[in-house]
Symmetry: C2
Subunit: 474 residues, 2 copies
Amino acid sequence: MPADNIHPFDKLFQPASIAVIGASSSASGTGWVKRLQDFGYPGKIYPVNPKADEIQGHKTYANICDIPFPVDYAILNIPAAATPQAMRDCAVKGIQFVHCYTAGFNESGTTAGKQLETELAQIARESGIRLLGPNCMGIYCPGSGLTFSEDFPKEKGSVAFVAQSGAEASRLVLLCQDVNLYFSKVVSYGNAADLDETDFLEYLASDNDTDIIGLYIEGVKNGPRFMSAVKKCMKKKPVVIMKAGLTENGAAAAISHTGSFTGSQKVWQAFFRQTGAIPTQTIDEVADTIQGLTRTRKLRGRRIALIGRGGGIGVVASDICNRAGLLVPSFSAETRQQLAQIRPDPGASISNPVEPKLGMEGAGEFYLRGLPIVDADTETDVILIQMAVDIYGGHTTDLLPGLSEAAYALCAAADSLKKPVAVALFTGGHTDTILAAAAARDILTKAGIAVFTGVESAASAISKVYGYYNFSKF
Amino acid sequence: MPADNIHPFDKLFQPASIAVIGASSSASGTGWVKRLQDFGYPGKIYPVNPKADEIQGHKTYANICDIPFPVDYAILNIPAAATPQAMRDCAVKGIQFVHCYTAGFNESGTTAGKQLETELAQIARESGIRLLGPNCMGIYCPGSGLTFSEDFPKEKGSVAFVAQSGAEASRLVLLCQDVNLYFSKVVSYGNAADLDETDFLEYLASDNDTDIIGLYIEGVKNGPRFMSAVKKCMKKKPVVIMKAGLTENGAAAAISHTGSFTGSQKVWQAFFRQTGAIPTQTIDEVADTIQGLTRTRKLRGRRIALIGRGGGIGVVASDICNRAGLLVPSFSAETRQQLAQIRPDPGASISNPVEPKLGMEGAGEFYLRGLPIVDADTETDVILIQMAVDIYGGHTTDLLPGLSEAAYALCAAADSLKKPVAVALFTGGHTDTILAAAAARDILTKAGIAVFTGVESAASAISKVYGYYNFSKF
C-alpha cells in the first residue's frame, strides 16, 4: 500500500500495543485488560498500576514511562483529577492516541470538571496526542480485536457507527447482531474534547472497510466542517444520523450528558434537506435503516406489494405504509388473475395485500408459487411479507417446524426475485413464539433477507432507503 | 337481579346451548366443537352435520330443526351459498343469535356475495334473529367458556374489545395476555350485516364486567348513533378506538376486507375531538393504552420523572417524551440533594433523568432507596423506569437472578408510592435476554406495574391516559 494511503487513524483502530493506565488488579478479573484479552486482541497489552506486579498474566508497570516498548494507544481508567498528569506522561512516552474512559469533566457541570477538560484538551494540542473522550467507551473494531464490551460479537461487517453515547452505540451493535449485521468500526467519543464526529466522518468517507456510516450526535462544534464531511461521505455511501436533543427537554439532558449544545430543529431540518443524510429518532430506527440499506439495495420505487394473512392486518399495513410515504397500489389484472389460480378460497384477497394460505406451512407453499407472480407485477417495486407468527403460529403448539419450513421456502424463492423482499416478523411477547421466530429470523437474515419486527419499522426503513436512492439521483 | 337489568345480549355472551352448523367430522378434531369443548364451555353443544352421527362425543343432527332441545346460539360454518337456508332453519327453531363464520359475502366484491349478504340481513330482520357477521370470528368470553381461538387464555378480565378484524382482535388478546391483562368480552363482527359496533357499545356502556372498551373499526354505518353510543360509554369508562383505513390505500383494502366505507380523516378527527375517545393506530398501541389505563390510574399530570442508566439513553428518552406531549422538568433542588446522597459517582446524573447504579442488582437497590425520593418530588407527576436489559443485562451472562431481584425490589418499592410508576423494559432481540426480561415482566405486571417494550410506547400510552383524564374533567 502506498504511503499516502495510510491514515494516522489506522493506528487508532489497529494499535499494535495498548497501555491500560489504571488497570484493575481485582481478582474477579473485570476491566479493560481482561476484556481486550478475552476478545482476542492480538497486540501487546501493558497494564499500568503502581500497586500490582502482574495483571491477567501481563507484567504491570508503575508508570507508563516505565514501559520499555513502544505504545500506540493508551486507555485512561483513573480518577478525573489524575488524568492531566497521565496525559503528560503519555506525551513523554510518545503515545499518539489516548482514550479517556473516565467521567467527571464538562458533563458534570462543575467548575473543577470543566477546568480538567480544558486542561486535557490543552495538553493534547500541545503534545500532538489525539484524545478520544473524556467520558466515553472508546473503540470497538472487531477486525483488530478492540472492544469496549465483552458482549460484542467478533464478526466483522461493513457498518461504521460514531456515537456520543456509549449506551446507544452498544444497543445498536447488539440489535444488529440479532439480525446478523456486523460492524467495521464503532467509536464512542463522549465529550469530544479533541477528536469529534467530523474527524471520524472524514476518515470513514475513504475507509474501504465501511459501506454505511451511522452517527449518534448530541452537539456539533463546527457546523460547516461537519456538513462538508457529511456531504463528502454521501457521495460514496449513505450516512444515517440520529440527532438527539432536538426537543427542549432532550437538549437539557444532553448538556448534563456530554456538555453538548444541541442546536435548533430548524437548522437540523435544513441540514438534512441539503445533505440527504438519513434522519432517525431512535436506535431501533438506525438499526432498521442500516438493515434496509444493506438488504433492499435493489429498491427502485416506493410502490409496495404486501403479502400476509388476515384482512384487517392488510388494512392496517396499508395505512402504515401510506403514512410512511409508500404506496400500496392494486396489482395488475394479469397478476390478480394468476394469483386467483393459486388462491381460490372465498374471503382471501388476491389484490394487494394478498393473503397466502392458512398456517405457516401454507405460507411456504405460497412463497414458492406466489412470490414469482408478485415479482413480475408491473405495478409494484418492493415486496413486504408479513409473518404474523404471534397469531397464526399458535401459542400452544410447536411452531418451529412450520415456521422454519416457511423461512427456508422464502429463502429459496427470494434468490431468483428481481424485486427486493423484506419480512415483517410479528412475534408478540410470548416466549415460545419469540424463540421460534428468532430461529426463522436467523435463517432469513443469514440469507440476506431483511427482517423487521413489524410493518411500521419495515415501512419506515424502506421509505428511508427509497429517499436515499432518490436523493442520490440528483 | 330485577328483570329490567337483563339485556338480550346476555344470552349472546352466555348461551346455555350452542349448535354448530357444519361441524367438522374430521378425525384430527379441529373445528368449533372441539374448540369450545377444550376451552371448557359448560353448556350443551349440538353439532349439526348430515354426514355424521357423533362428533367429539356429541350426538350429531342432520338439521338444526332436528335438535329436540332449546338452542340459544348457532354458529354457521357452511359454504356461503348454504347460509340463507340455514338461517331460515334457525328461525324455525327459534334461535335468537346466529354467528356466521363463513366468508364470501360483501367483502368478496362479487354480485353473488353481495346478494347473499342482503338475503341474510333480510332473513335476520324478518325473523328477529340477531346476526353476527358474516365473515367474522365471533365471540370470546372467558367467563362463559366461549372462544374463537384455542390459544386464548381462560382468565377473565375487565377489558372489552369489539373488532371488525378477527386477526387484530386475536393479536390484542395475546399481546394483553403477555402482560397479564385479560378480557371480559371480545367480539369479532366482520361485515356487520346486522349487529354492529354500535349495538355492542350500547351494551358495554352498562356492562358491569367491563371497565375499558376497545374498538377496531373500518367503517361505521350510522355515524350519529355511533357517536352518541361512544359518548354514553365515555361518561362511565374510557373508549380506545383503532380506526383503520384512514389512508387512501388503507381505505381500499378495507373495502375488500369487510366491504366497509371508511370515511374521511377530517370527520374522524372531529369525532375524536368531540367524544374524547382515545385514538390509536396499531394494535400494539391499543394494548399499551389499555395497560396504561389499567395500571397508571393515579396519573394527575404530564410531568414525567425518568429513571434509567445511560446518559445518551436519558437524552433520547427526554426527546421521545417531549414528542409524545409529556414534559421532563428538572427535579426540585431538594430531590436532587437527596439523590446526590445515594448517587455520588462522577458522570451519573441526579437531575431528571436520574441514573441508578451499575448493573441490575444496583438498580434494585436504587428502586428501594431512590424511588421514595423521586415520589416526593414536587416537579413531576409520574415515574418511568427504563430497564435497559438489552445493554446492561449482558448477552453472555446469566441475567435472570439480578433482573428478578431488581423486579421484586421495584414491586416492593412501588407499593407505597403515591405517583403511578411504569417500566420500559428494553430487551433487544437476543433470546437469552428476552427470556430473562419476560420473567421480570411477569413479576412486574402481576404486581400491577405497567410494563412497556420501550420509552416510545410507554410515553405514548401515558400521554393518552393523561389526555383521557384531562378530557373527563370537562
